[in-house]
Symmetry: C2
Subunit: 410 residues, 2 copies
């Protein structure tokens, strides 16, 4: 990896005591240098306002389905090409501002955070997709434009780009923060996320966001993990097997997740509910589906024609499956799983497959992507840790431990 | 009850084949006749657009936290006094339009759907509160202004006004329809609701909304019910006891809900999460709390100072309690419970207490209010039926059966 694409560590920035003006200058310089090629940004704020707080004015990117006062929210769709500037910040932006973050602009998203790609390229894998839908945020962090960037996940929209771009991500427990001011796709699944250079940086960001102690400082005991590999491809399986060996050597317990049936049920139910809800959330867009991407139009049409009883059955399936997964996970700290099927697919036409995130997202569980692994060809591979609901701090502590153990040593 | 305040049956309207123009004329005449006194409406649409669909142009009211294209969404707060007209309908409005409903205006709400009352009076109990927060919608249906009106419920904002005003209501399973275009208070609990003259009318409306068979036609078998009376006052307890006798005589099984501990846990956890989320959803309003009602300002301040671990504990408590309640409810069709502590309190200063809805709303369960009972002084008393998640049709079928059995006979 070329130094042009070196991520920018939040922990180092905070430790350096660089002021907001200097941090902004550095962010703008990095963006100016490489975003012509990368296309991670839709628009930059000409006059970002720093705020006080533990993060002390750190520049952050905001996915362009999240309202940022003074800039339009274009949602990656021609339907919003002439959108007016948002009047107020989304609630999650307010929360990050209170933590001391300084939003510097909007990052590219797929159309309404579904599958139709934007222009963004993958700084860690030239010629390969950055993943989606939070494409611009993942790429901006991977390229060192900003130390933090906000995403959202409905299926695998935070975790998969993190894996493809080689950065860390946190998906928050569903409904942990309100989605007020965020364009909805499937409200039962739409969750907040954030990218950073490493899990340790995410831990610091989280502690600032919720005013709680830094989870990195509590990461001492080797965790108990449940390994699930799903249908991951050979490169990802190899990375997972190597990780297992190193984690066990370092003292972790790693058992196998054996109930494939419950995962299959969740994986099947998730897209049913997602389409059903998207057709209702995006009813206005469904009425003009011919101007949408075929990906999105197809989703909305599917959802609009889903019979009520099929939707209800999918909901009940998720409820029952959720109980079983909670029982299986209870003796463990987290599930260790692939963050994507493999490295980023070549080309920009597809953002890849979210299938390995669907079962966990169906349950609204928090997930951390740990970067660092590479395919034999040198492409990034992420591992995800899935935690119990409302346990972000514990999950980040586990993530810090795992990140440290797996860190390349030489 | 004076005929000025006679509700307008949806089933009768649909059977009458009255066209949209005539129905609109009748609605406007009823509003003109009594709304000067009642104050159920914030604004009427000067030019409502009928749409085709099974409901065939029935006039409906829309609570003024729900966007209706062309009219402002004022949320019952001075902060929104100069709000611009909404550009697009909320998703739930689109769904009702597709069912053939014709929105005719916005109904009064408490401030941001919390406790601070609007100007609305109770047509069924002069001098008493109509309840809140969906005050205007409940009153408009009770007064026969419209056969249907939309509400929302975060604690007891649909069920309690139905009980106080003597009308039927349905609270939908949480996240059954997206809240897109609805001002959020506590997204984990915010749910849609609808009022009608009777449960049978709600069944017809539901079948139109979801394009499924009319639940009233499936209401044949006597249901199995679990009775829970909470801390209801003596008038409500008497109504509940009388209902139990009649339902058992008609063939229903009515057992007692014995796990008061799980209810207490849910009742305690609900306001913790509600305040926590409201402080984040309404962060912009929290910043100008001095212009808000003291009720709302207090809620937001409480939520802003809730420690993260307290919020997490409340969430976990709800998850565990939800499993226990689901097990207890599994052999039954519904819980039969008071819809409010008693009749509408005198005066307009308070909208009453939502405490008897909190445990069910914490779990996101659907609830139907069955009107018809009266206190010794002649004030309305509602009974609520709480169903399993995603089972609105079954719940409405049970509600129709209960309504028929309890109907006054002479």
């Amino acid at each position: 990896m070329n130094s042009r694409w070196q991520p920018w560590s939040l922990r180092e920035l905070v430790a350096s005591r660089m002021g907001p003006a200097q941090a902004l200058e550095r962010s703008r310089a990095r963006i100016a240098e490489t975003d012509g090629e990368l296309c991670a940004w839709v628009v930059q704020d000409p006059d970002p306002q720093p705020s006080s707080g533990p993060l002390g004015g750190v520049p952050i990117g905001v996915k362009d389905i999240i309202d940022l006062a003074g800039l339009p929210t274009k949602c990656g769709t021609p339907l919003r090409a002439d959108a007016e500037p948002a009047e107020v910040d989304a609630a999650i932006v307010t929360a990050w501002r209170q933590a001391g973050a300084m939003p510097v602009g909007k990052t590219a998203t797929t159309e309404f955070a579904y599958f139709s790609p934007g222009p963004t390229r993958n700084p860690a894998a030239p010629g390969h997709t950055p993943g989606g839908s939070s494409s611009g945020s993942a790429a901006a962090v991977a390229a060192g434009h900003v130390p933090l960037a906000l995403g959202t996940q409905t299926a695998g929209s935070v975790t998969r780009p993190a894996s493809f771009c080689g950065v860390a991500s946190l998906v928050l427990t569903h409904s942990r923060f309100t989605m007020d001011g965020v364009s909805a796709l499937s409200p039962s699944f739409d969750s907040h996320g954030v990218y950073a250079a490493g899990v340790s940086d995410l831990a610091l960001a989280w502690s600032a966001l919720v005013s709680e102690p830094d989870p990195a400082l509590t990461a001492e005991r080797p965790p108990r993990l449940l390994l699930w590999q799903g249908d991951a491809g050979p490169e990802m399986r190899a990375a997972l097997a190597a990780a297992r060996d190193r984690l066990v050597s370092a003292g972790a317990v790693v058992d196998d997740f054996l109930d494939e049936k419950v995962i299959a049920e969740l994986t099947a139910a998730h897209p049913v509910v997602m389409a059903y809800e998207a057709a209702r959330t995006r009813a206005a867009e469904l009425a003009v589906a011919s101007v949408l991407s075929e990906h999105l139009a197809q989703l909305l049409r599917t959802g609009a024609s889903t019979p009520e009883h099929e939707h209800e059955l999918a909901r009940r399936t998720m409820t029952e499956a959720g109980k079983r997964v909670a029982e299986v996970m209870a003796p463990y700290d987290a599930v260790l799983a692939p963050a994507a099927l493999g490295p980023a697919p070549a080309g920009l036409a597809s953002t890849g497959d979210p299938v390995l995130s669907r079962p966990w997202q169906a349950l609204g569980l928090p997930a951390v992507t740990v970067p660092g692994a590479r395919s034999p060809a040198g492409l990034p591979l992420g591992l995800q840790l899935v935690g119990r609901a409302w346990s972000e701090a514990n999950l980040l502590a586990v993530g810090c431990w795992v990140e440290t153990v797996l860190r390349p040593t030489g």
